[in-house]
């Protein structure tokens, strides 16, 4: 391979880019499938998700798994098992299902989600300005290290001076810059806006929320996380569970805890308000409270209290308040109706009804579709 070939773009890159495009297209096309199945969550490693994609292989007429097996070499008597995990030990059953895994970054995934759901970019609040790391060398100054000397400017000044003083000889155009001529590149700090965001997930863990309902919440929150993380650099997440009383928990507990008490939603909203007030001043933070439940509340009085809490505190501070109602066999679904009535036409409150896994995508769209 010639030297130039290596300097230029490699030929394979065109094919890689095309492959990448195709993968993106497939994900987009099947987004609903990927969103409704939570397998992706387990496939997260750092900033990369690995997605199984069998249909990208070119199909051929070829043999399925051979019931007769194959030929091998080694010790053992008839009837002895081939050592498991030893390469293609299970060639007999595994050969037919060829699953290809492609890797994609969470950013890319968020972008695809955004494109497919036509999510608007969020207009963040707050006006923190932070100097960008490194800054940019856009300025000039008369002093500096030689390595940053701006050759053209220095030359120009030297030329100007020599012409002005009459020492310039067109027949022997030698320019010798003196100290005064020298100009150096200088760094200018560029201010970039820095926005903070906090997501506060609240979930009803009372007896009526089953495993399926929690799985739905888990999946939905993965996608909400993915999207919001692509919109804010600095993001925090908090988790609150509640039955008759609320408490803040860590992520693991949030998804796996199961209680069996009654349901008092106001307890969660109260705790949420306290957390916001003590830790996340609204002028510096974009605040996203999400609440998931099956729609049962202790009493109408408590619901009234919730509405008051929302009106007085949460809605004053939060960018938007989202309530997702996961349908369950026991939930009456009353709470969503109550919220809808109380905040009719208020863009700060978004409610959505998640009937089953297939409803997740639509719910995400309604939550994030306003760009708040």
């Amino acid at each position: 391979m010639s030297r130039d070939a290596r300097l230029s773009v490699r030929k394979i890159d065109r094919d890689r880019n095309r492959f990448h495009e195709i993968v993106r297209g497939k994900i987009k096309q099947d987004l609903k499938k990927y969103v409704s199945h939570h397998e992706l969550l387990g496939r997260k490693g750092g900033n990369i998700v690995s997605i199984p994609m069998p249909q990208i292989e070119l199909p051929h007429f070829r043999f399925g798994p051979n019931p007769k097996g194959g030929v091998g070499q080694g010790d053992g008597q008839p009837g002895d098992p081939l050592q498991e995990g030893d390469g293609e030990g299970e060639a007999g059953e595994g050969a037919g299902q060829h699953s290809l895994e492609v890797e994609i970054t969470l950013d890319e995934l968020a972008k695809i989600l955004g494109e497919e759901l036509e999510l608007p970019r969020i207009q963040p609040r707050g006006n923190n300005q932070l100097p960008m790391k490194g800054g940019r060398y856009t300025g000039l100054k008369p002093t500096g290290p030689e390595s940053l000397r701006h050759f053209r400017r220095t030359y120009r000044r030297a030329l100007l001076r020599e012409i002005a003083t009459g020492t310039y000889d067109p027949d022997d155009p030698v320019i010798i810059p003196i100290r005064d001529d020298k100009r150096y590149r200088s760094r200018r700090d560029v201010m970039v806006p820095d926005f903070n965001a906090v997501i506060i997930y609240m979930m009803d863990v009372s007896g009526s929320m089953g495993k399926e309902q929690k799985d739905i919440v888990r999946t939905e929150s993965f996608w909400i996380d993915t999207w919001l993380r692509s919109q804010y650099k600095n993001i925090e997440t908090r988790y609150i569970v509640h039955d008759a009383a609320a408490k803040e928990v860590d992520r693991e507990t949030f998804y796996h805890l199961r209680e069996s008490g009654g349901t008092k939603i106001s307890s969660a909203y109260e705790l949420c308000a306290r957390i916001i007030e003590s830790q996340f001043p609204a002028d510096q933070w974009n605040i996203y409270p999400f609440h998931f439940s099956d729609g049962d509340n202790w009493s109408g009085r408590d619901t009234e209290r919730c509405v008051k809490l929302l009106n007085d505190v949460l809605l004053q501070k939060a960018n938007v308040f989202c309530y997702g109602q996961v349908r369950s066999a026991y939930g009456s679904g009353q709470f969503k109706k109550d919220l809808d009535r109380a905040f009719e036409g208020d863009p700060r409150v978004i409610t959505s009804d998640i009937a089953d896994r297939d409803g997740i995508l639509g719910s995400i769209r309604s939550f994030l579709g306003t760009g708040r």
Binding site: I12, R14, F61, R62, G64, V71, P78, P81, G87, G96
Partner: protein
């Protein structure tokens, strides 16, 4: 990049040994590449340039991942071309480079001399580059997506070729004989007028006339005999645009180029391993290199229970053949010997081994190689077995060590280089211009989802309904694809139905 002076010296030395041993190679050009360059070439199937296609990118990503995680590493790549090009990985140690070079000369000799490669294009390097240019030009003219979609379809059919057809000498092109004329002229013996009725009796001429009529009717059938080269059939009869023909032609040409390599995997790797091992141990190795060599050589030949290593099987077979012909352990006299011990120990000191393996490498392919040269003693010494899945436990386990069963199973998996036999039997099925394919079932079903997807691709190219007769769970079925975007229908064929395929039933 060309070789460093050190490697160039090694190359000269090794090429000299190769020639001394009687290897007969094309001129062999070595290039030294970094891992990413080597992965690129490997993704392109050994060539520096191919037509643009995403699967090369996918291939590259996998190689790249395997390499960067330290799971896999390509030692060498060699392509069948005159001159022969071989690539070395820059980061390999010197002893590896020597091993690889010796190995490459083995491959190169095999490419040049093995009968099955005789019809491959020895200027494939240039041709592949030309194919790239043609496809890029078509993409500029027709658009990336239509060309890519069509390429995908063609590639999905690229195993539907007939590697033997390269060797078939066609009869002279059938002339456009007028059926009526042919019908009227049954062959007669020459006879004088008054003897005609006796020498050419009426009954005989009628029979002959009927035969000719039948023949003519059969000629009208398309294709007259079942065709395995589905791609050529499509080229000739599918409603293709000019650019589509060009693309299909390219895919077919490349499929034929690669087919002999799939048909001689065991032999080719065995032959190359035999020669690197012979040359390294007899000539090339310095004392300080022995341990590294032994380590890497044994790594190449390592076997795992559920997997047959073609390097290992190939080299052992060649060694066994050499030994047998050196000692006269062949022919019916040897085969019929009753006393096992005597049979094993026989040594007539004929010294024909070297000559024999050179002959074998010229005329055999994997199927005939395995069929001719695996014998009882060999299968036992190599600890070969048949494995299978136990239906009760779902475990994969050793089923049998009988050498006949081993051979049968091995031959089965090698037949038609592991691909199913698919024929076009009718290009005008039911007189509606539909395409009828027949899968000659040999004990294993097709992978169903793939078969469906492939059938859709075929339907897209044929632009009329396409049928595939195959077996599913011991029942003859007919899969039909009416249009490429629609579903596949499946119908069980009743035994009374006339089998459309050849040798069906």
């Amino acid at each position: 990049m060309s070789l460093t002076p050190e490697l160039e010296a090694a190359r000269k030395e090794i090429e000299g040994y190769a020639r001394e041993y009687g290897l007969d190679c094309f001129e062999t050009i070595f290039e030294l590449l970094d891992s990413d360059e080597l992965n690129e070439v490997a993704a392109f199937g050994g060539f520096p340039t191919r037509y643009p296609h995403w699967r090369f990118g996918m291939e590259y990503n996998q190689l790249d991942k395997g390499y960067s995680y330290g799971l896999s590493k390509i030692y060498e790549l060699v392509i069948n071309n005159d001159p022969c090009y071989a690539y070395l990985m820059r980061s390999n140690m010197l002893v590896d480079q020597k091993l690889v070079m010796a190995h490459v000369f083995g491959h190169c000799d095999f490419f040049k001399n093995n009968l099955w490669f005789a019809k491959t294009d020895r200027k494939m390097m240039d041709r592949m580059a030309n194919h790239g240019t043609v496809v890029r030009r078509l993409m500029d003219r027709v658009g990336l997506e239509p060309v890519e979609r069509f390429l995908d379809c063609c590639l999905s059919l690229d195993n539907l070729i007939d590697p033997h057809s390269m060797f078939i000498r066609r009869r002279t092109e059938p002339t456009e004989a007028d059926p009526a004329e042919a019908e009227e002229a049954p062959v007669k013996f020459r006879a004088k007028g008054y003897m005609d009725a006796f020498i050419n009796p009426r009954a005989a001429t009628d029979r002959e006339r009927a035969r000719i009529r039948k023949e003519v009717a059969q000629d009208a059938k398309l294709p007259p005999v079942p065709v395995r080269d589905v791609l050529s059939f499509l080229l000739e009869y599918a409603p293709l645009k000019r650019w589509q023909q060009e693309v299909l032609e390219i895919v077919r040409e490349e499929a034929y180029y690669f087919a002999p390599q799939a048909m001689t995997k065991i032999m080719n790797e065995g032959w190359a391993s035999y020669w690197h091992s012979t040359m390294m141990t007899q000539k090339i190795l310095r004392p300080s290199e022995v341990v590294d060599y032994a380590d890497h050589h044994s790594g190449t030949l390592a076997t795992r229970p559920g997997r047959l290593n073609p390097y290992k099987l190939g080299i052992e077979l060649f060694r066994d053949i050499e030994d047998r012909w050196n000692r006269g352990k062949f022919g019916s006299q040897w085969e019929d010997m009753e006393d096992h011990e005597q049979k094993r120990r026989l040594n007539k000191k004929l010294g024909l081994g070297r000559e024999k393996i050179f002959e074998v490498r010229r005329t055999h392919n994997d199927v005939t190689f395995v069929d001719t040269f695996i014998h009882e003693e060999f299968a036992q010494a190599q600890k070969m077995f048949v494995y299978g899945v136990d239906r009760r436990t779902g475990r994969t386990e050793i089923v049998d060590r009988d050498w006949r069963k081993v051979k049968e199973q091995l031959l089965f998996s090698l037949t038609n280089w592991g691909q199913p036999y698919i024929y076009v039997t009718d290009g005008n099925y039911e007189k509606r211009g539909e395409l009828y394919l027949f899968h000659k079932w040999g004990g294993v079903d097709l992978q169903f989802d793939f078969a469906q997807a492939t059938l859709k691709n075929l339907c897209w190219i044929w632009d009329r309904p396409v049928h595939l007769e195959t077996m599913l769970e011991n029942k003859a079925v007919l899969l039909t694809c009416k249009n490429a975007d629609g579903d596949i229908t499946q119908r069980e064929l009743s035994p009374s139905e006339e089998p459309r395929g050849i040798g069906a039933g």
